[in-house]
Symmetry: C2
Subunit: 180 residues, 2 copies
Amino acid sequence: MDIRTLCLGILTLGEASGYEIKQSFEDHFSRFYEASFGSIYPALAKLTEEGFVTCTELPQDKRPDKKVYRITAQGRLAFIDELMKPPGRDRLRSEFIATLMFADLLPTRHLSDMLDERVRDARGAVAEWRAREQGRVTPGQRFVLGYAIAMHEAMARYIEDNRHLIEGHALLTPGAAPAG
Amino acid sequence: MDIRTLCLGILTLGEASGYEIKQSFEDHFSRFYEASFGSIYPALAKLTEEGFVTCTELPQDKRPDKKVYRITAQGRLAFIDELMKPPGRDRLRSEFIATLMFADLLPTRHLSDMLDERVRDARGAVAEWRAREQGRVTPGQRFVLGYAIAMHEAMARYIEDNRHLIEGHALLTPGAAPAG
DNA sequence: GTTCTCATGTAAATCGTTACATGATTAT
DNA sequence: ATAATCATGTAACGATTTACATGAGAAC
């Protein structure tokens, strides 16, 4: 599922310009997929060429013309075809996790700061998603929002419940018990 | 955190050949990071050039010589330097999630199959990790294994608890209540 | 007999980001 | 003044995968 296909998907929700599609990526796919203009604009050009979307130029004053894209019937079919393919494996690249794998090489203080920040960040993301859940969303979007919330709550909870495994390690090694 | 750095990390756990590092990626980073030979071999060549690892060739019969890499003191420092950098954001690309976002475009039957398979897969992964948890692992590795388990359990649980949101939709729309 | 494991490496292709190029308007 | 929002697009660069190249031995 490349960015080209995801643009098509966003256009099933309504017409949009390249600029607006970028915002949609941030709104709907935030933390799942990201896309830059450098991939969105060429994708839209290609989709137009292929007949999956049409493009109408709206003249604007003091700005480049706004190009509004609409998905075609053919585009809708192509998108559904793509959706019906068995989804590939999730691909997560987490520097946070990679770092913690080597926690024993790092000072406890540094780890604590990292974990604190991660928990803050996860809880912040959950708050944002909860807010978005209140708005008008399709059942699919609601399911995915709930999924994101559940995952990030589980993340925060796991970190809080298990941070002692890496933070408290020095205190738990034999012979390193604190005096008193 | 690129593959080059991760190779260095794996070598902090002990000497290894390129082939073995590939296996380590599957063992330790499975579902977090993946790496192919096409990225590992050039990475090791570059690390050797930079003095972060040394390479010893073991002649083998009927096979290419095995090149065993060991991390140097300099390499260890460089790796820790890298670990101390604030980790970048997690980057997840999930075709599964992207597909569910557009669940309303798909037949319920197809969704059910996808969800079933995802739950099976998550529970299978959890079982594998639980087995690995029994072996000898560093505290960091234990933390990360627990994290992976917690995440995938949360995933399976969320899907089971909320699949009706997308599967049962037809039954819940007004006027579509089952007779009886 | 076909697939898996072991073992290394290169080259092409893919996919995407970052930086560049341009420029007015509005909010802080 | 400085940044953010609006608006499009190209070109260079980067990271990684896939396919190619080679080949024996063991297991099924």
